[in-house]
Assembly symmetry: C2
Homo-oligomer: 188 residues x 2
DNA sequence: CTTGAAGATCTAGCAACGCTAGGTTATATA
DNA sequence: TATATAACCTAGCGTTGCTAGATCTTCAAG
């Protein structure tokens, strides 16, 4: 009776094709180009099929965002692993964070600025979000003091830098200096 | 021949009524409720009239955003003026910034996350944006070091804190601790 | 005062959007 | 082979941003 399993697998694969298409289109033409009609055409099904996978368009964006949190966690952990000391780790993680935001702007937009209903610090918080936060906390932790507060502040700084860089409101050329300043503030 | 002036004044006033209506609706029901039809109804003109004032809907959002930069500049200057020393000034300005974002979420959204084409550090940068940046720089400046870099970093941190608070991703209860940490990092 | 050009405004409509009701086809079970 | 169920599609509703073309108003020249 593996027939139900097969159906389940096919369904999951189709769902993945939806988010993959959304991500691809968004990265190439912006989220405005990601319409339900376009996605339906892309996966070669009619529109109502999408609504059997996701409650609405925002839920599709949210699904992509969750994928993004998985990706950024890996990027941050990799950056942390290849570091020699604490200062180096903080700097590498910060630069990796900014590089991620710059390298996948549409993905980052889904994660932070588009209206997905993703929450933190709540019962139904997705494990992917928690894991990404922990990846940051692991680098901040050795400072002593309140780790949660320090991690939140570090994260906010990185997010702000990423956003203001993306919107062209701070000079991209001064990135290294700003990161150095942030790391100095955290260590001093 | 004050007739042309009168027409100009009336036009300017009508334009202001558009942005005022947009701001009001956005603050009350979110930017999704701010449609061109709705605004037209609000000012009691037909839709095409709006397009004689603004190129498209985004330009209306951008106009509101510019108003927002004027407002936040005033808020920051006021906070700075009522401070006794540098540490106090930094803390007051930071808290005022976060309070502004929290108090006018739709306005702040227009300023930072909605797709207006507002740029900084470019020839056509609006004076309102520059002034708001300078209001921050004035508090950061006495630190020594590269003022521009320090201001950009301070601003990014505040923006990140505002955004992550708004989206419920960091605990609002720990706001004061985070601000204290930021100020400490800047002074140390 | 009339007339005609210029400007201001509106009506009506296009294409595209998110989303859904209801009918149709395919599939598994009896 | 018949039937119930699941899967899927067609067609359409209401709304959106935006615009072409018609209409009405204003003002200067004859």
């Amino acid at each position: 009776m593996g027939i139900a399993e097969r159906k389940g697998r096919q369904r999951a694969e189709r769902e993945h094709r939806i988010t993959a298409a959304a991500r691809l289109i968004a990265e190439g033409e912006g989220w405005r180009a990601v319409t339900v009609r376009r996605l339906a055409e892309e996966i070669e099904y009619s529109q109502p099929v999408l609504y059997s996978h996701f409650e609405n368009r925002d839920a599709i964006v949210a699904a992509v965002a969750v994928e993004g949190f998985r990706d950024i966690m890996i990027a941050l952990q990799t950056a942390a692993r290849g570091s020699i000391d604490r200062r180096d780790a903080l700097e590498n993680v910060a630069l990796a964070y900014l590089a991620f935001a710059r390298g996948h702007p549409a993905l980052y937009e889904a994660m932070f600025t588009l209206p997905t209903g993703l929450r933190f610090a709540e019962p139904e918080t997705k494990p992917e979000l928690k894991a990404a936060f922990d990846a940051l906390a692991a680098v901040v932790a050795p400072a002593g003091g309140d780790v949660a507060v320090a991690t939140e502040t570090f994260w906010a700084t990185l997010h702000g830098l990423a956003e203001l860089e993306r919107s062209g409101r701070i000079r991209c050329g001064a990135r290294a200096e700003r990161v150095a300043l942030v790391v100095h503030g955290l260590l001093g």
